[in-house]
């Protein structure tokens, strides 16, 4: 089981969290301006890297906030947790 550090609550067991997939995917500001291929790329395509992965987690059974985690998808080692842009104390996420 992963030990995940919530940037608000500290380290907690994985079972307190729900997973949100790849981080940094921004909904296009004007979907009507996109081609079908661009929309499909936003909607479905993922980097799915073997190695470093920046991903979203939600502290569902805690503070219920979303945040980003940098984790290696092979070793599962977590190298950091980050507050999302717009949250107090956030970096540039």
């Amino acid at each position: 089981m992963l030990l995940i550090e919530c940037p608000w609550c500290g380290e907690r067991a994985e079972t307190e969290f729900s997973y949100g997939g790849e981080a940094g995917i921004v909904r296009p500001a004007d979907p009507d301006a996109l081609s079908d291929a661009e929309w499909a790329d936003y909607l479905f395509n993922r980097n799915n890297p073997r190695g470093a992965h920046r991903e979203l987690w939600n502290h569902a059974q805690g503070c219920r906030r979303w945040f980003a985690v940098e984790r290696d998808t092979v070793t599962y080692r977590i190298s950091g947790s980050y507050r999302l842009a717009g949250d107090p104390g956030a970096g540039d996420d």
Binding site: L2, E14, F44, R46, N47, R50, E55, Y76
Partner: protein, 416 residues
Amino acid sequence: MKKYSAFSLVRHALSHNRKWREAWRSPEPRREYDVVIVGGGGHGLATAYYLAKEHGIRNVAVLEKGWIGGGSTGRNTTIVRSNYLWTEASLLYEHSMKLWEGLSQDLNYNVMFSQRGVYNLGHTLQDMRDIERRVNANRLNGIDAEVVTAEQIARDIPWINTSADARYPVLGASLQRRAGVARHDAVAWGFARAADARGVDIIEQCEVTGIIRESGRVTGVETTRGTIRAPKVGVVVAGNASVLAAMAGLRLPIESHPLQAFVSEPLKPVLDTVVMSNAVHGYVSQSDKGELVIGAGIDAYNGYGQRGSFHTIEHTMQAMIELFPVFSRVRMMRQWGGIVDVCPDACPIVSTTPVGGLYFNCGWGTGGFKATPGSGWVFAYTIARDRPHELNAPFDLERFTTGALIDEHGAAAVAH
């Protein structure tokens, strides 16, 4: 290829089984092939076999970074069924089912395909409505399926908990009698041996590190054993599909997740069929050696590590004990994780790509084993003809752009 038969068993027994030939050669890779298949799992080996058998393309190499069948082919729960809801999916899996039914004879290799039936349990009124709908859809597509009642289940599977006060009471099930299990290793070895006998080079310990392209067409692959040229490259690497796609500058609608499974200590015969449950989320059968083979859901996070989290194991065991209280004292002997390539619509991609001569077969997610022969058959057709067969035409990459998804998530007989 020396034919395996009862006679050969006797003959080799007389020489103390010291004169068996290797099942397939281990050739050095040549510099050039007509087709290179990346991935020596069941699907890749089946593709090579059907390329040689159905299309006469024998100058083929199968490149495997580890050993044959060492990935997801050897890391599943070996269930074979074709009771999918949507016509596109059910026809594809049913084609595979028909190949399974003659596979041991076709390959001259006993894949131990055992049509012991698969029950998909319903625990709620809505489950039963979905089951009736799916059974009717299957029958309209010519696939055997029937709805069975809780009384029939109690009679046929005596150890299952069908009491009304269970947290998730068993109300009934769908039953596909032609479904069952097969021996996963034998499937890989059988296809490898039969493909090798038709001239296919199976090259193990050979990892692809790059896909060579010239003016929009593939011309070969870079590997840890040198450059191998080929005008056609078929990639069928399950969980690593996104990694190979990135080598060709493509992005896929796939996420890789760990999927864990378990084998118990051997027991006396206790379960002579396959039981799957969507609501409590687990599936179980008993192998010929007496071990319970148990599986459940994927770990939520992306992972390539071939292992998952402990709470997923706990969840699986809770499901098993809910269904079969009699299993509560059974000890698990082995546990493993495979990497599954999950698509947004829980259906595979067997497709040409924007790169000429490059083909992808991926996205089978949690249910690829059952499709092994059918997947290889349609992928071989796609590579040989440079266009999909009508069975896999709906499963192209374009569907994510056109929106023509085949939504088997929740519609298929088990949650993904």
